[in-house]
Amino acid sequence: MTDELNSPGYDIPPEMDGQVAITTLDKVYNWSRRNSIWPMMFGLACCGIEMICAATSRFDFSRFGMEVMRPSPRQSDLMIVSGTVTKKMIPQIVRLYNQMPEPKYVLAMGACASGGGPFKEGYSVVDGVDKFIPVDVYVPGCPPTPQALLHGLITLQKKIDMQSIKNVRWYSKDPVEAIPIPVLGPDLMDPREFELIKEYSAEKQVEEGELPVVDEA
């Protein structure tokens, strides 16, 4: 661990070796963050059970500083989307994501959260949570084994290691925009697509021949 911190790319004079640690702010910052990721206690479906298994004694992700699962989004750093995301649930998930304080990460656990999985063709399933919120790590599997989830969490730690205070989004000058919450209409509607939906519906109507098509006369 100290070696990890203590390699900023500067040469330490031999007489001071082992007594002085030189590091960068980024490294200390990332090191402390990546070892205290608090996931949100939030199981959606089958994968949620494997997530619980990853927390129990056999797999035990507290070895990586993640044992504190918080039911409240306000206290959590990581949203593990563990299971099928349905159209009825996505407004809540987006709202929870917006409520999480920065820095925040999303891990899509399993085939359903990553891309719809076996239920993709169904009428009320969102084909991938990344259609609405940004995902940092995808873990494949149906459901992924706890080992696979641990691998995903370690991958997330590696990603955190690569971030720099200089350009992370939560220290940028512009405020981070909240993601607009989808609305449940006749089908799921993204507020950013309202115009598109209107156009599509009008076109469909013309195709079906319900509106009198304006003729040349």
Binding site: E121, S124, V125, K131, L184, M189
Partner: protein, 580 residues
């Protein structure tokens, strides 16, 4: 019950109800009741013939015949096979009198049939959508309704084969998403109705006169869908007087994964892995129920060794489920995580066995029509033997010692969430919930399937109907499962595990079948209608977790809000099955 008795009873029924007729279609059974007589028939059946348990209500859309059908399955709680009766209504105006006022257990099921099939139940007190949301366009299980990613009516889709290139459904959709909108729809004018409809159920703000000296306002509190105590994405809206629950409305559908629509597109075999994902704690029992239903249609039976393997896996699954149920119940009581860790330790050992036989920890996909997917690998039988005979009884005794007489557990659970036997039956509660209320009804004994008639075991029953008894009965059932497993281990024969050759495409003759098993959560039924094609025409799951929520309102009222969380834990729901 023998065939003659059934036939005799059928003619008795026809004598009593002259308007009904037998269902003469090939492969079908039961009676067809005219819509206006259904209430009289159902209540008469209950009061005069002893069919007091209305287990399943579902709708079927027969598009070619231009009619819709409501299918009822009724049982006697004293045991015996089912009685099926149906109501046929025209497709353009499907209205059927509701049975909910007489059988409250039909409540959620009728709402589901309205939601998904579009059959209106006249007289239903609260006919709202249950799995989709208010405002959803169309009724998805109608045969002419097409989902946004629609490709063809049945798999295998030609578009995927034999060209070789997989076409991604989102590339064909204008939004690159799984959505579709009706013609002429303007989202700017849309007003969401769902939330207000939910709160309207409990939001009556009439100021009730309190019996206590302090007069308080009633408030409406929303629990879930993201709440640590709701076991997933279940949601309850409760109205509180102080801390006491006055009214409670369950809201579900947050994990509605279109199991039945996808099931009707799939071939029969493709559905087995999907059943795994229904109740993801007990994939083995789910497989069991489904293959039983299809085997009934096909008229086949598995060989002897496969029958024993089935029972072995089903009972191991029951142990897994009850361990988890006890662990989560203790979680809800505030014993956060420690009892669960002990329960999950044993669960992991059973999952190792499942992984060895099927290749997957949770989604086993192990049963096949007329057989099993593969035989036990080397060493697994010994693993099961030493686990079940040496380790498990000891560990169950440990749980019993540490939990059963714990003072806090007793104080929090005894006399809380009481469901009487009568209420349990009228609300169609099944499984441990029904048996903890003093009704010794276990399908393994009442209407044996597979080879359960060969084993010696007791039907666990407790009489108080409170949370404590629902906890105790799970311990009892684990012990009975160990007893059955001992006999399975003793008698396990050698031999083939598949009748005939394993087939990818099974031929299923036209007809209907209802296969039910005593799953760990109660009666898990699969209603399958085949029209001779490779895909089922109708595929319905009678989900115990879903129907066991019907009495939640009865159990939860007049207790503290903290108790409602525990009551929900004691029903032991799994959202994959509740919402399907």
């Amino acid at each position: 019950m023998s065939e003659e008795v059934l036939v005799e009873q059928k003619s008795e029924l026809e004598e009593r109800f002259p308007d009904i007729s037998r269902d003469e279609r090939k492969g079908y059974a039961g009676f067809i009741v005219p819509p206006e007589k259904i209430v009289e028939f159902a209540t008469g059946l209950r009061d005069e013939f002893g069919y007091d348990f209305l287990s399943s209500v579902t709708g079927v859309d027969y598009l070619p015949e231009d009619q819709m059908e409501v299918v009822y399955h009724a049982y006697k709680t004293t045991g015996g096979p089912e009685l099926v009766y149906k109501v046929q209504v025209p497709r353009d105006n499907p209205v059927v009198p509701s049975l909910t006022p007489f059988f409250p257990g039909a409540d959620l099921q009728e709402r589901e049939a309205w939601d998904l099939v579009g059959i209106r139940f006249e007289g239903h007190p609260n006919l709202k959508r249950v799995l989709t949301w208010e405002g959803f366009e169309g009724h998805p299980l109608q045969k002419d309704w097409q989902e946004p990613f629609y490709e063809e009516d049945g798999k295998p889709f030609k578009s995927r084969w034999p060209g070789g290139d997989v076409i991604r459904s989102e590339d064909n959709n204008p939004f690159n998403k799984n959505v579709d909108y009706p013609e002429g729809f303007d989202p700017a004018l849309w007003e969401p109705v769902g939330e207000s409809a939910v709160y309207a159920g409990v939001g009556r703000l009439d100021h009730a006169v309190s019996e206590t000296a302090l007069s308080t306002d009633q408030i409406v509190v929303n629990l879930g869908p993201q709440h640590p105590s709701t076991h997933g994405v279940f949601r309850m809206v409760v109205r509180l007087e102080g801390e006491t629950v006055v009214d409670l409305e369950p809201v579900m559908g947050y994990l509605h994964r279109n199991h039945e629509k996808i099931g009707e597109r799939n071939t029969f075999l493709m559905n087995i892995p999907f059943t795994d994902r229904l109740d993801y704690f007990n994939s083995m029992s789910n497989n069991f129920g489904y293959v039983l239903a299809v085997e009934k249609l096909m008229g086949t039976k598995p060989p002897e060794r496969a029958e024993y393997l089935r029972v072995m896996m089903a009972e191991l699954t029951r142990i897994v489920n009850h361990l988890a149920a006890i662990g989560f119940l203790l979680n809800d009581l505030g014993a956060f995580f420690t009892p669960l860790l002990y329960a999950f330790e044993e669960r992991e050992l059973i999952l190792d066995i499942f992984e060895a036989v099927s290749g997957s920890r949770m989604m086993c996909n192990y049963y096949r029509f007329a057989g099993m997917a593969r035989d036990l690998p080397e060493g697994v039988f010994e693993q099961v033997k030493s686990f079940v005979l040496d380790r498990l009884p000891r560990k169950i005794d440990d749980l019993d010692t540490f939990l059963t007489n714990n003072e806090i557990i007793r104080a929090r659970t005894i006399g809380i969430g009481v469901l009487t036997a009568e209420q349990a039956i009228t609300h169609s509660a099944v499984g441990p919930v029904l048996r903890a209320s003093g009704v010794p009804y276990d399908i393994r004994r009442a209407d044996p399937y597979g080879i359960y008639d060969r084993f010696e075991f007791d039907v666990a029953v407790r009489y108080h109907g409170d949370i404590y008894d629902r906890y105790l009965i799970r311990l009892d059932e684990i012990r009975q499962s160990i007893r059955i497993l001992e006999q399975v281990i003793r008698d396990m024969p050698e031999g083939p595990i598949q009748e005939g050759k394993p087939q990818y495409q099974v031929r299923v003759p036209p007809g209907e079948a209802y296969g039910r098993v005593e799953g760990p959560k109660g009666e898990l039924g699969f209603y399958v209608v085949s029209n001779g094609k490779p895909n089922p025409w109708r595929y319905h799951v009678r989900a115990p977790s879903f129907i066991n929520l019907t009495p939640l309102g009865v159990m939860g009222k007049n207790y503290m809000i903290a108790d409602v969380v525990t009551i929900l834990g004691s029903i032991d729901i799994v959202l994959g099955e509740t919402d399907r």
